[in-house]
């Protein structure tokens, strides 16, 4: 169409929005819309399903790891064998430590099952109970000296095999030679169960004690404390160094070739496999500096190397998100570069910096590969108390238990994973909470 001035004008009236071609276009557009929405939704559903299956499986397997079977046995605290309860407390407990508890327990069991005889059957019978039952009994006597000379029913920890049978994890219908728990033991267990002497109780020891060779005696506390001390070392080294590096790079460094190379390399470091940091820690901290192996100090420093790039990158993005106008305002009032950075930019960037740090720490908490390199994979029973004590951490503990042959370690592994996930989810929860609380719109 040509208007009176001789210019071309679009022929707007000529478009027929109701034509079949237009209708078909519209229909196709709606269809594509629906398709993409459907694809997105199914992707989310698939991701959620994987997560639910994973968590469900771990919880289903692991929840029983927090419980342990006890067997009630009538123990006679024979005054002839045990020391005099009127002794002073110290002397009494020292004397109790000398007593052969195994003998008392064996006596009680043989009383319960009078028809058991012969050396091998007696050993089988006593092995129904955990080796931890002796120290259980000892501490009971020390705690209550007045029971000496009486006969009382006492709850004693069952062995891991008995525990697994009670939890239904051992298939009794298998042929006898294919299972560790033989028919005789199954019979004794059945008799005890009939007498209502077998109970499955919450087992606080799993939370409060360290590692052990016996699955029924293990606990995550040693590993949790090890993780805590290690992370503390990581935090105290990686946070100040990372923050200082980020501040320098964002606020003070000139933009030149050197800083560009440094930036690229920091970004590359964040993508380096963690085991490489383990090798670096092995070479530097253990090799060159000769620090104690298997200690939280070395583990923490190695994990600090690993988290440093994460902290620097997140701190830099938080710092650069502070608007230029704030810097201008402070500078325009005559604030020095240091004052601009420390009075205004860093306080405003802090929530973002801390969020990044917590996420970095959560990654360090879940890391096991670099710690294997520096010897934190040792079997350690004692709960560590300092940065140079031998220690292990939760992920390595999980790895160690997953590697153990006893059937009962399966549930302990899953239970330890639950504890680790609890810490990880808590840390991420704190990060999310902080982000929401301090989020700022400019």
């Amino acid at each position: 169409m040509i208007d009176p001035d001789g210019h071309m004008q679009p022929d707007v009236q000529g478009v027929d929005w109701t034509s079949p071609q237009m209708q078909a276009r519209l229909k196709k557009r709606y269809w594509v819309d629906r398709l993409f929405r459907g694809l997105g939704l199914s992707a989310v559903a698939a991701a959620a399903l994987f997560l639910i299956v994973l968590l469900g499986n771990i919880i289903q397997t692991g929840i029983s790891g927090f419980f342990q079977t006890s067997i009630e046995i009538d123990i006679s605290f024979d005054a002839a064998i045990l020391p005099d309860p009127t002794l002073p407390r110290n002397e009494f407990s020292q004397a109790v430590a000398q007593v052969n508890m195994q003998r008392i327990i064996r006596q009680a069991l043989l009383e319960k099952f009078p028809d058991v005889s012969g050396r091998s059957d007696t050993i089988r019978l006593t092995r129904m109970l955990s080796s931890g039952s002796r120290s259980q009994l000892r501490s009971l006597i020390v705690r209550k000296p007045e029971i000496v000379g009486t006969k009382l029913p006492v709850q004693l920890l069952a062995s891991d095999e008995v525990d697994q049978a009670v939890k239904g994890n051992i298939d009794i219908s298998l042929p006898e030679e294919n299972r560790k728990l033989k028919n005789k033991e199954v019979g004794w267990l059945n008799q005890l169960q009939l007498e209502d002497r077998v109970s499955l109780n919450f087992h606080p020891r799993f939370i409060t004690s360290g590692d052990s060779r016996e699955p029924e005696l293990v606990g995550v506390w040693g590993a949790a404390v090890g993780s805590g001390i290690t992370l503390l070392v990581t935090l105290l080294t990686a946070f100040p160094i990372g923050l200082a590096a980020a501040i320098y790079l964002e606020e003070f460094a000139p933009r030149n070739r050197l800083t560009t190379i440094i930036e690229i390399n920091i970004n590359n470091l964040a993508a380096v496999p963690s085991i490489v940091f383990g090798l670096l820690g092995l070479a530097v901290f253990l090799g060159a500096m000769g620090m104690a192996r298997s200690a939280p100090l070395v583990g923490g420093l190695t994990l600090a190397l690993l988290t440093l790039p994460t902290i620097i990158i997140s701190a830099r993005s938080a710092i650069s998100a502070v608007p230029q106008s704030i810097r201008d305002a402070a500078r325009g009032l005559g604030a020095s570069p240091m004052q601009v950075a420390f009075h205004h930019v860093i306080p405003l960037a802090m929530p973002g910096v801390l969020t990044g740090t917590i996420i970095g720490m959560a990654r360090a908490l879940g890391e096991s590969a670099p710690l294997l390199m520096i010897g934190m994979v040792a079997f350690i029973v004692d709960v560590p108390t300092g940065i140079n004590d031998p220690a292990t951490v939760l992920p390595v503990q999980i790895y160690l238990w997953a590697d153990s042959p006893e059937r009962a370690f399966i549930e302990k592994t899953s239970a330890a994973i639950m504890v680790l996930l609890f810490f990880l989810i808590s840390m991420n929860g704190v990060a999310i909470w902080m982000r929401q609380k301090f989020e700022r719109n400019w």
Partner: protein, 264 residues
């Protein structure tokens, strides 16, 4: 060390700042081309001109805010009371305390109203005790015409004020360090007409006490608030004179075209 700089117009009083043959380059862009200008303590000078004419760049040279832009080069001399502000012995921090700045977009600190105003005096140690600081804060807010509106909520966030109040808070913050020159970079461009009127009244109020330089895109604003007007075009100063003269009898055709809205 104070250079004696001859004023451009012999009849005027002694200028506060003198700008002589200033050129500014950004990488390969020649943004400001040889400007000579005098700024007076008792006058408001308006810098007008189309976008990209170098007026904001020149303004930011006056308190060396361009220093932080790494590829910005400033040549020529700018004197404050006869002292070259680009000399190596000049402390930029002190210079910026003497030459304050108000920005295009209100940019109060995300702190309380009190802390916004008190920040400058604090970092320069202008108040010896809390009472003296209180006085400075009150006087500054009073001068900025904001005291009556905020005196009961000094602990509220400065960012929670309305846009016009925020800009007046920024002006209060600038005058709290007792500057000699105040630079304003389009201070009303993000404000509504009522807030603009308040800020303009404030500029009028302050005009006797400080040398004020204001960059503006609004002809009417320049005509209302300033006594001297400079017209820039493509980095060059086309015309400089009394505001009344520039707006009623411009000497240059370009100035006339711009003021009447034919270019720009």
């Amino acid at each position: 060390m104070n250079a004696v700089v001859e004023p451009l117009v012999a009849t005027e009083s002694k200028p506060k700042m003198t700008i002589r043959d200033v050129h500014v380059h950004y990488e390969d862009v020649h943004a400001v081309k040889g400007i000579d200008l005098d700024l007076y303590s008792d006058k408001v000078t308006a810098l007008i001109g189309p976008s990209g004419c170098g007026k904001s760049t020149l303004l930011r040279c006056l308190n060396r805010m361009n220093d932080t832009i790494s590829d910005c080069r400033v040549q020529g001399q700018i004197y404050l009371d006869g002292q070259d502000i680009y000399a190596s012995d000049i402390d930029v921090v002190q210079l910026r305390a003497r030459v304050g700045m108000v920005f295009q977009k209100p940019n109060p600190f995300p702190k309380s109203i009190y802390d916004n105003v008190a920040y400058g005096p604090r970092i320069h140690g202008l108040a010896t005790d809390r009472e003296a600081l209180d006085e400075i804060v009150e006087a500054s807010l009073e001068k900025a015409g904001l005291w009556q509106e905020v005196k009961d909520r000094l602990d509220h966030q400065g960012t929670a004020l309305s846009g016009g109040q925020q800009q007046r808070l920024c002006i209060a913050r600038a005058i709290a360090v007792n500057p000699e020159v105040i630079l304003m970079d389009e201070p009303c461009s993000s404000l509504d007409p009522i807030a603009t009127a308040k800020v303009e009244a404030l500029i009028d109020e302050l005009s006797g006490r400080y040398a004020i330089v204001i960059v503006t895109h609004s002809m009417q604003q320049a005509a209302r608030v300033s006594q001297k007007t400079v017209f820039f075009h493509l980095g060059e100063m086309i015309e400089y004179g009394d505001t009344t003269q520039i707006f009623t009898a411009p000497q240059q055709e370009q100035t006339r075209d711009y003021i009447t809205g034919r270019i720009g």
